[in-house]
C-alpha cells in the first residue's frame, strides 16, 4: 500500500466512511507488521488533528460571527433605546409637565374645596352653638330685673274636667301657675302641674276649680296619631300679647330642632308667649303644641307632636282617670267659626 492510499484510508477511518472492502484492506495492512501499524497511527493522528484544526477554526469563526451579531444587536438596541429616550425627552417631558400641572391643579383645587368645607363646617358648628343659644323658649319675660318676675304663656284644654296642656319649660322653674280666661281677664284660677316631661317639653296642668270652664266638653279633638303631611295647612291660637292672636302656616318638615322626631317644623309666625299654643289642622284637630323657634329666623318654629302628648297622658292615666273627648264638633265648620268655638278653651297662663 502506498502512502497516498494509506492517508486516504486513514481519513475515511476518521470520518467513519470505510466500506467493508477498505476496512479489510486496512486491517490486513496493519496486521502485516508493527511498523505498518505505527505508520497508520501516525497518519491517523495527523488526519485527526487536521480535521480538528479545521473544525475548531470553523467553530471560532462561528463564535466570531455570533459575537458580531451580539454586538450589532446590542448596538441596535442601544440606538433604539436612545431613540426611545429621545422621544421620551421630547414628548415625555411635555406630557410629564402637563400631567404634573393637572395634578397640582387638582390638588390645589381639592385642597381649597376641602378647606372651604372645613371652614363651612366650623361655621356650621358655630351656627349650631349660636342656634342652641338662640333657641329661646317663647317666654315673655317681663320685669326680669325686678324681684318678682313672671312668665307668660299659653295653655289649652284637653278635656272639660280642667286638664290643660302647655309647654314644660314655662312651668319648670316656678311653683304657681295662674290660668286666665280670654273672655274674662279679671279672674285668675290657680292650677297645679300634675305631669311634665322636659325632653318632650309638655306639661299637664289641672285647674283647682273645674267649674271655671263653661261647658263640660271641648269642641275639638286631639289627633294623637297625626301623620305629618308636608304642606298641610295649619293654624295656631296663642297669647303672644294680652289678647289672643291667630297665626297660620304649613307643616314644613318632618322633624324639629336638631332632627328631633318628637317635634316638627312649622311655618307659623310665633312670638314669645306662644309657647304652649295648640296647633290645629283644618279639621279642627290638635296636632301639636308650639314649643320654640329659632331666634332671628323667620318662619321656622317648632311644635311638639301630639304623639308625645299621648305618652304623657298615658303615664298619668294609670293614677287618674282621664276622659278625652273623641267627638269633633267643629270638624265641618269654616275656619272662622272653628276659631270662635275654640277660643274659650285657650288660656293665657302666668307663672310666678
Amino acid at each position: 500500500m502506498n502512502t497516498r492510499r494509506l492517508i486516504e484510508l486513514s481519513e475515511k477511518y476518521v470520518n467513519n466512511t470505510l466500506n467493508e472492502f477498505e476496512h479489510n484492506e486496512l486491517i490486513e495492512f496493519i496486521s502485516k507488521s508493527e511498523e505498518n501499524k505505527k505508520l497508520f497511527e501516525e497518519n491517523l493522528h495527523f488526519v485527526k488533528n487536521l480535521t480538528n484544526y479545521y473544525n475548531i477554526t470553523l467553530f471560532e469563526q462561528n463564535l466570531k460571527k455570533a459575537h458580531e451579531t451580539f454586538e450589532k444587536e446590542k448596538y441596535i438596541n442601544r440606538i433604539r433605546r436612545t431613540k426611545v429616550y429621545e422621544l421620551f425627552v421630547k414628548y415625555g417631558s411635555v406630557a410629564a409637565v402637563s400631567v404634573i400641572a393637572v395634578l397640582i391643579t387638582m390638588y390645589l383645587f381639592g385642597w381649597k374645596t376641602y378647606k372651604d368645607q372645613i371652614n363651612a363646617y366650623h361655621q356650621l358648628s358655630n351656627k349650631i352653638t349660636i342656634i342652641s343659644k338662640n333657641q329661646k323658649s317663647l317666654w315673655n319675660t317681663i320685669f326680669s330685673n325686678e324681684e318678682i318676675t313672671y312668665t307668660r304663656g299659653t295653655a289649652f284644654a284637653i278635656n272639660g274636667n280642667g286638664l290643660l296642656a302647655t309647654s314644660y319649660h314655662l312651668v319648670k322653674d316656678y311653683d304657681s301657675v295662674l290660668v286666665i280666661n280670654a273672655s274674662d281677664t279679671t279672674v285668675k284660677i290657680h292650677a297645679k302641674v300634675i305631669a311634665g316631661d322636659e325632653k318632650l317639653d309638655i306639661a299637664i296642668l289641672k285647674l283647682s276649680d273645674s267649674s271655671f270652664m263653661n261647658v263640660n266638653n271641648v269642641p275639638y279633638t286631639i289627633n294623637f296619631s297625626y301623620p305629618i303631611e308636608l304642606g298641610a295647612n295649619i293654624y295656631s291660637l296663642g297669647f303672644s300679647k294680652s289678647s289672643i292672636v291667630y297665626g297660620e302656616g304649613t307643616v314644613s318638615s318632618y322633624t324639629g330642632f336638631n332632627e328631633d322626631t318628637n317635634s316638627m317644623q312649622v311655618s307659623i309666625p310665633t312670638n314669645p308667649g306662644n309657647s304652649g299654643s295648640p296647633v290645629f289642622n283644618f279639621k279642627g284637630e290638635v296636632i301639636g303644641i308650639i314649643c320654640g323657634k329659632i331666634y332671628g329666623k323667620e318662619g321656622i318654629s317648632y311644635a311638639v307632636r301630639t304623639i308625645a302628648l299621648k305618652d304623657i297622658l298615658d303615664s298619668i292615666s294609670k293614677t287618674t282617670n282621664i276622659k278625652i273627648n273623641s267627638k269633633n264638633l267643629i270638624k265641618n265648620l269654616p275656619k272662622n267659626k272653628q276659631i270662635q268655638k275654640i277660643i274659650p278653651y285657650i288660656f293665657r297662663i302666668e307663672i310666678y
Partner: protein, 186 residues
C-alpha cells in the same frame, strides 16, 4: 415544532457539537452577557470577557466531540463555571496569587477533558496551523475548500481549474502528503 422545543437543551448541545452557526449564535446571545458581567465585576474588560467566553465555548466544543462526554449540569451553568474558572486562573497568573481566590470545580462532568488534554489539543492545532502556513498555495486553498468549506471534489476542480474531480482528488492527496511531511518535521 415550536420554537421553544427547538431551542431545548439537547438541541442546543447537539447544535454546538455539529458546529451550527445559528445555535452557536443563540447560545452566545443567551450566555455571554452573564459571563461578561461576571468578568467585568472581577476586574476584566469586555475583550477579556469575549476571549474567556469563546475559550469556554471551544472547550465545550472539544468535549462534545468525545462521544463519552456527558453534560451533567445545565448548559448555562457549565459555561458559567468554565468561564469563571478560566478567568480566575488567568487572574491568578496575572496577580501571582495562589490561594486567595478559591478555585472550585463546582460542576464536574463525565469524561471531561483535563487541562492537560486541552493544552495538547491547542498545541496540535498550532502545529497544524504552522504547517499550513509553510505549505503554500495552491495546496492551502484546496485543503481549506475541502475541509473548511466542505466542498465536493467537483466544485474544487471547477474552482481551481482542474479538468475533473479525479484530478482534484489526486492534487488534494498530494497536498495532504506534503503537509504531513511538514507536520512531521516540526
Amino acid at each position: 415544532m415550536k420554537k421553544d422545543s427547538y431551542l431545548e437543551e439537547d438541541n442546543l448541545i447537539n447544535g454546538i457539537k455539529e458546529n451550527e452557526e445559528m445555535i452557536i449564535s443563540y447560545v452566545y446571545k443567551k450566555n455571554f452577557p452573564v459571563i461578561a458581567n461576571f468578568i467585568r465585576l472581577n476586574g476584566g474588560t469586555n475583550d477579556d470577557a469575549k476571549d474567556i467566553f469563546q475559550e469556554a465555548m471551544i472547550i465545550l466544543y472539544n468535549n462534545l466531540q468525545n462521544p463519552e462526554f456527558k453534560l451533567v449540569s445545565k448548559l448555562n451553568t457549565y459555561l458559567y463555571s468554565v468561564s469563571r474558572n478560566l478567568w480566575l486562573s488567568q487572574l491568578r497568573k496575572k496577580c501571582n496569587v495562589t490561594d486567595s481566590i478559591e478555585d472550585v470545580a463546582d460542576y464536574i462532568q463525565d469524561n471531561e477533558l483535563t487541562f492537560e488534554d486541552i493544552e495538547v489539543l491547542n498545541l496540535n492545532k498550532k502545529r497544524i496551523e504552522l504547517s499550513l502556513n509553510l505549505l503554500g498555495e495552491p495546496c492551502k486553498t484546496i485543503l481549506s475548500y475541502f475541509y473548511f468549506y466542505k466542498w465536493s471534489m467537483q466544485e474544487i476542480a471547477e474552482a481551481m481549474g482542474y479538468t475533473n474531480a479525479e484530478n482534484a482528488k489526486n492534487q488534494k492527496y498530494k497536498c495532504l502528503l506534503r503537509l504531513k511531511k511538514i507536520y512531521k518535521s516540526l
